[in-house]
Symmetry: C4
Subunit: 257 residues, 4 copies
């Protein structure tokens, strides 16, 4: 097998644009690796699991970093076969400065800290980077872009629903502050504090850390809870309609392909 044939085979394996709608065996492994690396980063925040296994997690991190490095080099090598970069005079340079390549490069960085031992100061920052490796998955699906476009096309409705909800939260907090601030100054002692009650009530989460105790406050709270049903109905309807748009467009694409 000549270099060109090898390069073509690598391109088919690492670049999702080579065979649209299909995910190659190599890319399935890469997806697995990303999920494993993110999972490892999440588990590592739990002290009771990490205790005594620090070396294991460090070695794992170095392995993930090496594998992502190999993938990056492979993608860089075959970048000139990708139609998106091929027409450029410097296809590899164009690839290096593409969002997807920058994300991939940043994904390798955390492993360097694992090798170097890592200053405690940078640790929190590095941990974030390791979880943001999730963004590498973006390359394999355009569902997010589709959903984003669908929501964008309904931005007026969403803005109206959002304004209405903000307005109601503000009025509710002002009234509730007036009704409860004397009875519970620590929880309803100012309008910004009362907003926490408003959002916990209107989303129907209702943790139970704040709730009215005066009769007037309870009456207002009841009114607000009922109004919230309507306010939640607005974005629910908009998002459901946007989702249905996405799905019809995707089916349309597939049928015409």
């Amino acid at each position: 097998m000549g270099v060109n044939a090898l390069k073509k085979a690598v391109f088919d394996q690492v670049d999702p644009s080579a065979r649209p709608g299909k995910i190659s065996a190599t890319n399935k492994i890469v997806i697995g690796l990303i999920l494993a690396a993110v999972g490892s980063a999440i588990v590592e925040t739990e002290p009771t699991i990490v205790a005594g296994n620090e070396a294991l997690f460090r070695q794992l991190e170095i392995i993930f970093g090496l594998l992502f490095l190999v993938e990056y080099v492979a993608r860089l090598w075959v970048a000139d076969m990708n139609p998106a970069y091929a027409h450029s005079r410097f296809p590899r340079l164009k690839f290096i400065f593409s969002l997807s390549a920058i994300i991939d490069l940043l994904s390798i960085l955390p492993a360097l800290f694992a090798v170097a031992g890592g200053a405690t100061l940078a640790l929190r920052f590095v941990r974030f980077f390791r979880i943001l490796r999730l963004a590498k998955l973006g390359r394999f699906s355009n569902a997010w872009a589709d959903l984003g476009a669908a929501l964008h096309s309904r931005k007026e409705e969403l803005f109206l629903a959002f304004s209405l909800a903000s307005f109601t939260i503000l009025i509710a907090s002002t009234l509730m502050y007036w009704a409860e601030s004397e009875a519970q100054p620590d929880k309803f002692g100012s309008i910004p504090r009362t907003m926490w009650w408003a959002i916990v009530t209107m989303t129907t989460v209702g943790y139970g850390d704040v709730y009215p105790i005066t009769p007037v406050g309870k009456f207002l709270s009841g009114m607000v809870s009922v109004a919230a049903i309507g306010l939640i109905a607005l974005p629910t309807g908009i998002v459901a309609a946007a989702m249905s748009d996405v799905m019809q467009r995707r089916k349309g694409k597939r049928d015409s392909a």
Copy 2:
């Protein structure tokens, strides 16, 4: 530039009816000022932020008042160019007694208290006025009027849904009062008290300050929670349909414009 040209320019800048569907640079600033003034009034209720900064907040309030005064005078000056008042014999008088102008005038009042030092007695009342400056925003959008009209056209459905919910709250409270009043007299000791439980449960907020502890009470509470799913479905469907009406009407207007 002559006085007439200046007046025309001012009219274009301060009156939203001058260029329907567009918001002038001046009005964008006015909207920003309204939001800032309301934000300042909200933040000022938080003692930990205000402490030591009383002078700053007072000066801010005076600045907001002056700017709203300038806007009011400008609107008054160009009122005779607004088609809504132009045909009247006293266009400025008609403007002064319009809802929008009364709101604008009331918005200036709180600043006077800031200048005068303000009796503590009037403070709470003034604070309310400062937050009600939000109503000034109403002039820039007819979305609220549209939504109100859409809900009004479905008032029968909403009345039916509301009656059904009220009826269920009443029956649920009566049964629950019967089941729990002996076990928890402070929380379920009368039907009005039990209604607080009913509304917290049926809106699925569930703060956790009141909940049944007897087996019969728990059984009833379960039935009520399940019935609530259906009761919440009614207004949700009505509001979502009304919202979709609003949006279609607005798109229709824009297309025909």
Copy 3:
């Protein structure tokens, strides 16, 4: 005015079937009386309001009873003009045994206890009757019958949704009992006890009196909460569709009338 003209006038005023779709002035007063009588019965359960006002509430009750008695006699008198009873050989007897007349008669009873002083033993029972006066309202609207019919026509869907929810509650309770019974024997110590957790979680009420504390229990609880989203979606969709049916049918009736 002769007796017949008076009788016709009384019939027009007290019988909703005299002028379909319209509510006479007398009936508006009757509706107000019903709401006032029910409101009074509810308020009377609150000891802090009743204390010292027992005589007032007793007098109110006697007045309500007298007025309902007058209404009953009037309806009885004009019963032979109502097309529903007119064809019978004993229209008044047929009226007396109609559901609506029985409800009206039962509504008068509580006042007798107020007159007689009332044995404490019968009090709770009487209170119930006073709140059930709400049922008198049923005569003025067929919305409930319409909604009942619409839900009945979808009874298969509702049965399927209800079975699915019951099944899930059962499986969830069994699994959770297995996971949490040792850690919290008082709350998860048997499957019937655990069902209280299941219903509070699946309706998303979440009072906070019961929640899992073991890792396995938390994992199961998370799965159940997510599954509940789908389970709540089923009856929500069915009820919303039934409601839309009711409204279209009513509009159809009105248009063809």
Copy 4:
């Protein structure tokens, strides 16, 4: 009545496929028995009910087992009349290895333990089997299969909604861990622990065992609660649409039958 006529009568009574869409008197009794057996198994987990009635529950269990055994033998006897097995060379053997027959056989097992006295070790396992008798009901309805098929046909939408929710839970947990881990190390001390908060908040259950106490945490929690409205809207819309598919297909089948 000859043996063949008897066998035909038994077949009509015990096999739902004999008269599609109808449930025979015998099968109604079988369904009642299944519900009673499952109900008995559930109630038996409650110590306060079982105490002193152990013998009664054991006898009940033996009776249920015997009746299920009779049903199994009857179904086995008439298996060669069922069109699904009739064409096979060994219709009874084919019946024995069908899912429905295996479930029925497993349903008899728990009674053996009741007879034998039952080692405490196996008790928990046996209890599970007794509740899984619910699966016997599956034979009488294809609604589950229909619903499963409808959801399967929308697996892409569900996968997208599920990914989006998982992604949001992960990001929310990471941010919240960063904001609250110092203030509440026992509840937000690692990302896996924080996920419990994320799922309780995003499903709007809100037990109240975990909630943010820092201002940043409260702000993030508010954002997540609002985002959750949209995330819950996605599967709600998908499941409601799938349910409507099921119902239309079933009505189509019935109309064409």
